[in-house]
Amino acid sequence: MLYIKCPWCGERDETEYHYGGEAHIVRPENPDELTDAEWAEYVFMRTNTKGVHRERWVHSDGCRRWFNVARNTVTNEIVSVYKTGEKPDLPEAATTKPAQVKKAPAKKAVAKKAPAKKKEGA
């Protein structure tokens, strides 16, 4: 069971909340001009992060307000809780501390190269 600290009500059990999926997905400003692929990106595609994941929660059995949580999806450690509309930088320790996450930078280095190469082919 997660303990989540609502920005308004304080720390409560996970059962008081509902999950709202990945945070900071912005609705396109120009819906008329979007291609099908761009719509698919907005509606369906998700980062599904292994590591620190920014996500939305709503305190449905409490103040019923939405807010954001940065949570490590491997350890379930909650790194940061912040209000809707904000997007603070995460403390560096949070993204490098646990052994599982330590591997991430190596993977990311490869991942960063890959898209560039992919573009050549695509």
């Binding site: 996970e14 099908d36 369906f44 595609m45 998700r46 599904n48 992060t49 292994k50 993977k107 890959a114």
Partner: protein, 416 residues
């Protein structure tokens, strides 16, 4: 490979069963393969098996970061059925069911496939209508399905509570008699043994750390045991598909969630079928050891931790208690979690990717086990021909762009 038979059993009994050969090798990776499959679970191993068997491609490696069958293959509740609503899914899973029915003979390995019947309960008028619709759709596709009323449900599974005083009374159920359970580990072991015999290398403790890609074509994989070149690379890594796909810069509509299951202490046989309920949210069967095997829905949040929250288990046991009051004094022995890769339309993705010669088999969500032989069979065809089989063509990534979703949420998305 030493074949299992009554004669080999008798022969080995003479030497106190001390001289059985190993069932598969543990080779070091070669520098290059025709096909590298990422993930030695049921799907990956089945794919390797059918690549060798059906398409004659034997220069294949199946690489696995943990141990063989140690992911969702060894963590699911082993239910097999094919009574899906839509034609695309129905035909796909029915092909898998036909492979299941002959799998022990095919592999010369007892996968303990037991067609004990799977009931999906209906608890309200909406459920009843939807269930009867699904029975009719199944029958039109040549899939066996029956509608049972509450009394018939009680007759088929005598310990179930059909009292009208229940909060969610049982109003009937669909029944697929050909559905049932199988021994999940044996499926992975049987495919590994069969594939190994045809020359496939199954390499455990070998984690993929990157993909080698040039000119939009995959050239190989970087692993914890060094670089391995490959003409084709196929992902079969379930909950970690997004992580591997990210190495190729591919975005997927997949989210990984913990899914929990649990077993009770062993007890005498009380339930000889599989009972599933979407509405009260639990599914139950009894293993040959006598343990009740139960599962339910996913934890709501994205997670890679292979464990979930306790309240999800509490809910599912409350549901089980409502359906089976006699379970009230049963002690639960252990619970665990697996990481399932869910798709928005509760259907899988099996096919090509934007990167040439890189293939994806993912998004099985909570119901991948039942598809194991069929998924491997279709995926092997897709890899060998560089083109999907008719059965898996509807399950491409492109459907999220074209909008041709195979929306099984209503029919199957909750309890698989």
């Amino acid at each position: 490979m030493s074949r299992f038979s009554i004669f080999s059993l008798a022969r080995n009994a003479m030497s106190w069963h001390q001289n059985w050969p190993r069932q598969w090798r543990s080779p070091d990776p070669k520098p290059e393969y025709d096909v590298v499959i990422i993930g030695a679970g049921g799907h990956g191993l089945a794919t390797a098996y059918y690549l060798a068997k059906e398409h004659g491609i034997t220069n294949v490696a199946v690489i696995e970061k943990g141990w063989l069958g140690g992911g969702n293959t060894g963590r699911n509740t082993t239910i097999v059925r094919s009574n899906y609503l839509w034609d695309e899914s129905g035909l796909f899973y029915e092909n898998a069911m036909k492979l299941w029915e002959n799998l022990s003979q095919e592999l010369n390995y007892n996968v303990m496939f037991s067609q004990r019947g799977v009931m999906n309960l209906a608890h309200n008028l909406g459920d009843v209508r939807e269930s009867i619709r699904r029975v009719n759709a199944n029958n039109l596709n040549g899939i066996d399905a029956e509608w049972l009323n509450a009394e018939q449900v009680k007759e088929f599974c005598p310990i179930i509570n059909i009292s009208k005083d229940s909060r969610y009374p049982v109003m009937g159920a669909t029944l697929q008699r050909r559905g049932g359970t199988a021994r999940h580990d044996a499926v992975a072991w049987g495919y590994a043994r069969g594939a190994d015999d045809m020359g496939v290398d199954v390499i455990q403790n070998c984690e993929v750390q990157g993909l080698m890609i040039g000119n939009g074509t995959v050239k190989g994989v970087r692993t914890s045991l060094g670089d391995i070149k490959a003409k084709k690379v196929a992902m079969a890594c379930a909950g970690h598909t997004s992580v591997v796909a990210d190495m190729a810069g591919i975005r997927l509509p997949i989210e990984s969630h913990p899914l929990q299951a649990l077993v009770s202490e062993p007890m005498k046989p009380v339930i000889d079928c599989v009972v599933m309920s979407n509405a009260v949210h639990v599914y139950v069967s009894q293993s040959d050891k006598g343990e009740l095997v139960m599962g339910a829905g996913i934890d709501a949040y994205v997670g890679y931790s292979q464990r979930g929250s306790l309240h999800v288990i509490e809910d599912q046991l409350a549901s089980a208690m409502e359906l089976f009051p006699l379970f009230s004094r049963t002690r639960m022995m252990r619970s665990w979690g697996g990481i399932v890769d869910t798709c928005p339309d509760a259907s899988p993705i099996v096919g090509k990717t934007p990167v040439k010669n890189l293939y994806v088999n993912a998004g099985w969500g909570t119901g991948g086990f039942k598809a194991t032989p069929g998924a491997g069979w279709c995926y092997a065809h897709t890899i060998a021909k560089d083109e999907p089989h008719d059965l898996n063509a509807p399950f491409s990534i492109d459907r999220f762009i074209t909008g041709a979703l195979v929306d099984e949420h209503g029919a199957a998305g909750v309890a698989h």
